[in-house]
């Protein structure tokens, strides 16, 4: 496996035992021990040992003790702070969020990384693609947070996420959106409401303009592009006008487009014959519509129900319900490149012969992927997966930056809560220490895993 791809970058079992200039014969480990005296070794180690001792090891011990005391550090509370972590409702939300993070984010990142790594093998511009996807790794999580605050802006006119959603939505159902609008009914009106749609009472024919008066439109829904209503120019085609039959300030004649009354743009109009839609038109800014190329005859003109549904404005990404998935999305954006590059390196190390052999034996691409590629990749996939679990447990910056102040409680995670409780206004270093220890306990299994794996591979 290791001889196939030669290069210092491929992850290999024996990566640790080789250097840039490893000679033909590796010297046995024991011979290295004939070095200088331990005093010299200690001198070389001293700066690192001091720093690690004071800044890392001592704080662990200190935090264990500090977590057993109250906010000011004077009263011993035993495991009280830990009890708070598991009973306080805000804390439980925090833990629930961490759980969502740990379950969702590593799976999504690893899966995407695998897909990207496999797909990049099939394109010529793989290097460019990898650079693009990998680039967020170099960007600070702070900047990534600002980037995604912009992406998730609720206004589809500003936030790219909702802009895409509304565009896709509108492609499949075009609707200007006039909720609560209804026809002006009555004897002199030619239209009537029918199962959410608006239809003409009588079939109409071309040359005879159809007037469709609408009421019940709230001012904030009125499109700014709307022009004063105009009757469609006479002609051979079936035509008419959809307008807001309401004169601001009173006056005006019901059922007739008066000078100050505005047309309703973007309304979908259907010409129906025998229950079948024979033609579709959309109203112009002055509310006029015209069916071109329609066979002569009588039609019922209908404004379908879709006109009267509220128009789609996308999702409230930064609201209390979607905030955690939204931030996980940003996390995936940041880390997918890491997963991809690692997995691609693992992929490059897979012996091609076994893949070829399987293909020659008639295995489909999917079978090759499922039965050979993935099992051979499993060590790399595990590394990526575990690294992502550790990263999700420590996630701080993204939540802090992306969640607006009002939804911070709903998006909270342990690492952020620790900072908030101890420095960000909480001023409770007892609880803060307990949270730090809690976080340490969460990563402890992976710490042990690292040590065991290192011992196994280094000997």
């Amino acid at each position: 496996m290791t001889e196939k791809v030669d290069g210092p970058k491929a992850p290999r079992e024996d990566d640790t035992s080789r250097g840039p200039a490893s000679g033909p014969a590796e010297t046995p480990r024991t011979q290295r021990r004939l070095g200088p005296s331990p005093t010299v070794a200690i001198a070389f180690l001293l700066p690192a040992a001091l720093l690690l001792g004071i800044w890392v090891v001592y704080p662990i011990v200190y935090s264990i003790f500090r977590s057993l005391f109250d906010a000011t550090g004077s009263g011993f509370v035993g495991l009280g702070n830990y009890a708070t972590i598991f009973t306080d409702s805000g804390m439980l939300t925090t833990i629930r969020n961490n759980l969502i993070w740990v379950v969702v984010a590593p799976i999504v990142v690893t899966t995407l990384g695998l897909i990207f790594a496999v797909l990049t093998e099939r394109i010529k511009w793989a290097t460019a693609f990898k650079l693009i996807v990998f680039m967020p790794m170099a960007v600070s999580l702070m900047a990534a947070g600002v980037i995604f605050r912009l992406v998730y802006d609720e206004d589809p006119g500003k936030g790219v996420a909702n802009a895409i959603l509304t565009t896709v939505h509108d492609t499949f159902s075009s609707s200007q959106g006039y909720p609560d609008a209804r026809p002006r009914e009555g004897d002199q009106s030619g239209v009537v409401a029918d199962k959410g749609a608006i239809v003409t009472k009588q079939p109409v024919q071309s040359g005879q303009p159809v007037l469709i008066p609408i009421v019940g439109i709230k001012p904030n829904i009125m499109p700014s592009a709307a022009q004063p209503a105009k009757a469609a120019p006479p002609g051979n085609a079936l035509s008419g006008t959809v307008w807001f039959d309401f004169t601001p300030g009173g006056g005006g004649k019901n059922g007739t487009p008066d000078a100050t009354e505005k047309g309703l743009p973007g309304m979908t109009v259907e010409a129906v014959k025998d229950g079948q839609v024979a033609g579709t038109a959309t109203t112009a800014d002055d509310g006029s519509f015209r069916f071109d190329g329609l066979a002569a005859g009588s039609y019922v003109v209908r404004l379908p129900q879709s006109n009267f549904e509220a128009s789609y404005h996308g999702l409230t990404w930064l609201g209390p319900t979607l905030i955690t998935p939204a931030i996980i999305g940003a996390f995936v954006w940041v880390w997918a490149g890491f997963a991809m590059v690692l997995i691609a390196a693992g992929l490059a190390a897979i012996p091609r012969d076994s893949l070829e052999a399987a293909r020659i034996d008639g295995a489909t691409e999917w079978q090759v992927f499922r039965r050979i590629t993935v099992p051979l990749l499993s060590p790399v996939l595990l590394v990526v997966f575990v690294t992502m679990i550790i990263n999700t447990l420590k996630v701080f910056d993204l939540v802090f930056i992306i969640a607006p102040p009002s939804v911070q409680p709903q998006s909270n995670v342990v690492a952020l809560e620790m900072w908030r409780v101890s420095f960000g206004g909480g001023n409770n270093q007892g609880l803060g220490s307990a949270l730090a220890i809690f976080l340490l306990i969460l990563v402890l299994p992976f710490m042990i895993m690292n040590i065991r794996r290192f011992r196994r591979e280094d000997t």
Binding site: R33, L45, P47, Y58, F129, A138, S140, E356, L440, M447
Partner: protein, 299 residues
């Protein structure tokens, strides 16, 4: 791999198999769809950063009125006004704070870790294996564990809020990864080289400076770029240990987050400015970046 293909063409050939006709046909047929999917995915990854860049180059009024993508129809609206305002508002000092925190940290981590790594790799002393296992264990200790104790300690010695305090914290938490990475590289140095030097009576310091350090350059470069980016991009440590006069860009920007809507001009230009140097480094040294990442995570 991003860089292996670029840096070592031989590897491409080693990896590219001789494919039979059937696979080639399947590849052709599926190729079109794959291309489209990959272009879309690439856009998906590019668009958010592009958005930040465009927003930072448009006036607050324009940003308030329309989405950044309208820039494609109205390129004339671009302006560097935001950047001028940002620099006039004192952001420059936080830029220099970032530099003054990042550069010494990187140098110190490399120096201190290289010494320790050399000792771990090539010297004999009691408890060597056990203490190295402790270093491996410390690799993933969450920073949160040290915030409170170190804050109290800094208060006692009077360096709370200062740049040296921030730097030392970074150095300490950068060491486990650095020692791990360099030690694993140094053990690969041929023993004969070191033995020859020792036979010639060279001191350990001399061997370290003249033999180990030069031979370790690739690993040191990987470590350097990694450490630099890590510190440059840090927010948590700065949030706790840097006061307003010494705050790096990340903390300066964070303090503007509360009024996100009204501060988009400052935030976008500041965020973009803060990521230019990491991006330049990333593109210039991506080979070392990837190597460091591999060596650090594939244990």
């Amino acid at each position: 791999m991003t860089t292996a293909t670029a840096s070592a063409p031989a590897e491409v050939h080693a990896g590219a198999p001789r494919r039979n006709v059937i696979t080639r046909i399947v590849d052709r047929l599926g190729g079109g769809a794959v291309q489209v999917v990959m272009v879309l995915l690439g856009l998906f990854w590019l668009v958010p950063t592009l958005g930040l860049m465009v927003v930072s180059l448009r006036s607050p009024a324009v940003n308030g009125a329309e989405g950044w993508w309208t820039v494609f129809t109205k390129p004339a609206e671009l302006t560097i006004e935001n950047y001028k305002n940002l620099l006039a508002s004192g952001f420059t000092s936080s830029f220099w704070n970032t530099v003054f925190i990042t550069v010494p940290t990187t140098v110190l981590v490399i120096g201190i870790a290289a010494m320790a790594a050399y000792a771990f790799a090539w010297m004999d002393f009691p408890g060597r294996d056990l203490s190295f296992l402790i270093v491996v264990g410390l690799l993933i200790v969450p920073i949160q564990i040290a915030l409170i104790p170190v804050a109290i300690f800094y208060g006692g010695v009077g360096i709370f809020g200062t740049i040296p305090g921030v730097v030392l914290f970074h150095v300490a938490f950068g060491l486990p990864f650095a020692i791990f990475l360099l030690r694993n590289f140094f053990v690969g140095i041929p023993a004969s080289l070191l033995e020859a030097a020792r036979m010639d009576g060279a001191s350990e310091v001399k061997i370290f400076v003249r033999v180990v350090f030069p031979l370790g350059k690739p690993a040191i470069a990987s470590l350097g770029i990694f450490q630099f980016l890590w510190v440059w991009n840090d927010m948590l440590i700065a949030l706790v240990f840097a006061d307003t006069d010494n705050q790096p860009m990340t903390k300066a920007l964070q303090s503007q987050m509360r009024q996100f809507g009204s501060n988009v001009d400052i935030l976008s230009s500041g965020a973009f400015l803060s990521l230019i140097i990491p991006l330049v480094l990333f593109f210039a040294f991506q080979r070392y970046f990837v190597q460091g990442m591999m060596a650090g995570s594939v244990k």
